[in-house]
Amino acid sequence: MTGKFRTLIATGALALGFSASAALAQTELRMTWYNDGIEGEVMQGLLDRFESQNPDISVVLDVVPYKAIIEGLPVQLAAGEGPDLARVTDLGGLSEHYLDMTPYLADTGYWKTNFGPFLKWLDPDGDAINGFMTQLTVTGPYVNKTLFEQAGVALPGKGATWDDYATAVNQVADKLDIPIPMAWDRSGHRVSGPAIAMGAKMFDADGNPALIDDGLKAMTQRLYDWHQDGTMSKELWGSVSGSSYLGANEDFANAQVVMYMSGSWQIPQFAETIGDAFDWWAVPAPCGPAACTGMPGGAALVGMAGTDHPAEVAKLMDFLAQEEQMAEFYGKTLFIPGHLGLAQGGVDFATDDPRAKHALATFAGAVPGISPVAFDLQGYANNRVMFNALISRLNEAIVGELTLDEAYDRMSADITKALAEKSRQ
């Protein structure tokens, strides 16, 4: 008993000492990563290959909950305690902490050609090369096509508006007694695409955020009405506060939802959980007067300026960014490629599910049709401030705490306040 106890303490102390001085023999890089599906495993495979080609560099993949990426990572970076590389979603917001790999890359041309538009998302004010998109996402709706067939309602075709879809899904739900005709992810990012379709401009002439305009109001008014008339359930948007994300995956998978506004990242999950239980069908982004558009988005792998080994970080990033690795990564993870060469050439996705293939084709095909406003919004460094204000205040209106007009005023005030705080140095 005593002996064991002493050993425990001793090894404990040893382990603690070790963690501080582990990486003396070779260069060790730390990559902070989060998972939505199997992408961590695929990345680990690529890292193993990199390590075998570069025995002097070892890479450790630190998988954290997504919460740590959003809440912990910014503080760690600000304190100079961040990792060497990280997978981030607040692309422009953390820009000041990214490493510009330009001096370390042999072929910057390759990066510019293949990642051009996305580099701007990572560095809105400059032309640095910070990283690449591990996943390009496009928002858009899925419908439960089987339900449409059972109800004998025709699926709205290309060019259908949001109102057409609202009418159709209500018909289906009425006939088959489905509780939720339409569900949207609880996210300001998701609302923005349809709002832009309705004519929202998001920015004023000088490029400053101007969230509230008639286009945005047209969409938020609809969302408000749909929640009141039962087209959408208050369960999803009404049941949490602030900017918390909530999805309707389970209800959709359980055939409780006719139409689900989400995005391309759901494909691997639907393929696994729904499979062939019913036809989950990605449809093109519904239209408004201004456009038929979703929002682009995604997650990026970036190098961090705080690293002690910028050359090695760039070497690793350059390895991962090569077409061979990227094709394998996107193919296995079923992610829409954020690599222009692959996007044109097509990726061989590792699935034989016809629904998944159709969905991948639909979303990949939607990329060229995305409105320039949506690209600008995605590239704006403080877009999360706008998204959060939009969703949290709209939500308070929907549950009846505010009127829509009060909510608009609060949205503007929230954005002004946050930006003022940020610009105060």
């Binding site: 959003i70 208050k234 308070e396 009846g400």
Partner: protein, 338 residues
């Protein structure tokens, strides 16, 4: 008998910790004895307090000061020397209301919503917590079978982490959860609990009572057991009714423990955060968003991490709590040596 069982337990614990602990204490003895000779016995309490105070100072007092200075600065920088001084601007922003009775008239409406929600929460939570802890303690104090087991039963949820507690109940209360299955099976409609502000608040209160009741029950149980049995015997001789015995003997003698329960429940109630956050997410709307969640969101989860405003809110909360506790201590002081 009490002393004997304590000793047994003491020995078992001591053998559990084992010889290394004893070794440590023995090794420390000569230097501390020397210290005592040098400083005199009068200064020894400070030696005993030193390690705890050092940790305390480092990880509580220093952060509290930093927190206070944060509240006087603005911007988004982490280190104080990079942050512009703004005086009491953050406080002014927080307190800028047309009327304090209506959070919607305040510039920072969510701060006030948090305060109102927290107040409502503690009123219900503390009163029902005390009520149910008391009932449970009275029942566990009776001569029932397997008393030790039942005492432990009510204590079990105290050991669970807040996140686990919330997940357990969320899983039960979901639209397709077991509680709704039960409602449907007895012919009622499903209830969407987390869509209704009233139900959300109800479950927030219920779940936090579920999780913490066992702890307060034991405190009250200890008080009940300290009441001399002869008082009850005398009352029974006189033929006093059970109700009268409860109001005249049990409750007054239990009062010090009741006070401890009330004070602790109040303190914990103001701090309520993770359980409810995981359970309701603060919704619907802002119906169960409490003050600590507001501070956490402002300083942490928002894209622009506003440490200044969050710190100002926490300082304001701290001042309010301090006044509350001092008032309670003044009330308890007569009864107790604190």
């Amino acid at each position: 008998m009490a002393l004997q069982s304590d000793h047994n337990m003491g020995e078992r614990m001591a053998s559990l910790a084992g010889a290394p602990v004893r070794l440590l204490f023995t090794v420390l003895e000569p230097p501390l004895a020397a210290l005592q000779r040098g400083l005199g016995i009068k200064r020894m309490p400070w030696i005993f307090l030193l390690p705890n105070l050092a940790f305390f100072g480092l990880f509580v007092i220093v952060p509290l000061f930093i927190n206070f200075f944060y509240s006087l600065t603005g911007g988004t920088q982490l280190y104080l020397d990079n942050r512009p001084f703004v005086g009491t601007e953050q406080y002014g922003f927080l307190l800028d209301c047309q009327t304090y009775a209506d959070p919607q008239t305040c510039r920072e409406d969510r701060f006030w919503k948090g305060i109102y929600n927290t107040s409502i929460f503690i009123i219900f939570q503390v009163s029902f917590m005390v009520l149910f802890s008391l009932i449970t303690a009275l029942i566990l104090n009776r001569e029932i079978r397997a008393r030790g087991f039942f005492r432990a039963v009510f204590f079990f949820p105290v050991l669970l982490s807040p996140v686990v507690v919330a997940l357990i109940w969320k899983w039960i209360l979901l639209r397709d959860g077991i509680l709704n299955a039960f409602l449907v099976s007895i012919g009622l409609d499903k209830i969407l609990f987390f869509v209704s502000p009233e139900w959300s608040m109800f479950w927030a209160v219920f779940v936090s009572i579920w999780a913490h009741m066992g702890f307060y029950t034991l405190i009250l149980l200890a008080g009940l057991q300290a009441i001399p049995p002869d008082l009850y015997e005398a009352a029974e001789m006189d033929g006093t009714s059970k109700e009268r015995v409860f109001w005249r003997i049990t409750l007054p003698l239990l009062w010090p423990n009741m006070l401890v329960v009330i004070v602790l429940a109040l303190i914990k109630g103001v701090q309520i955060f993770d359980e409810v956050f995981v359970l309701t997410g603060g919704g619907p709307g802002t119906a169960t968003q409490f003050i600590v969640q507001y501070i956490y969101n402002t300083g942490f989860t928002n894209q622009v991490q506003n440490f200044g405003l969050a710190s100002a809110a926490s300082v304001a909360l701290g001042v309010a709590l301090f006044i509350l506790t001092m008032a309670q201590l003044a009330a308890t002081r007569r009864k107790d040596d604190v």
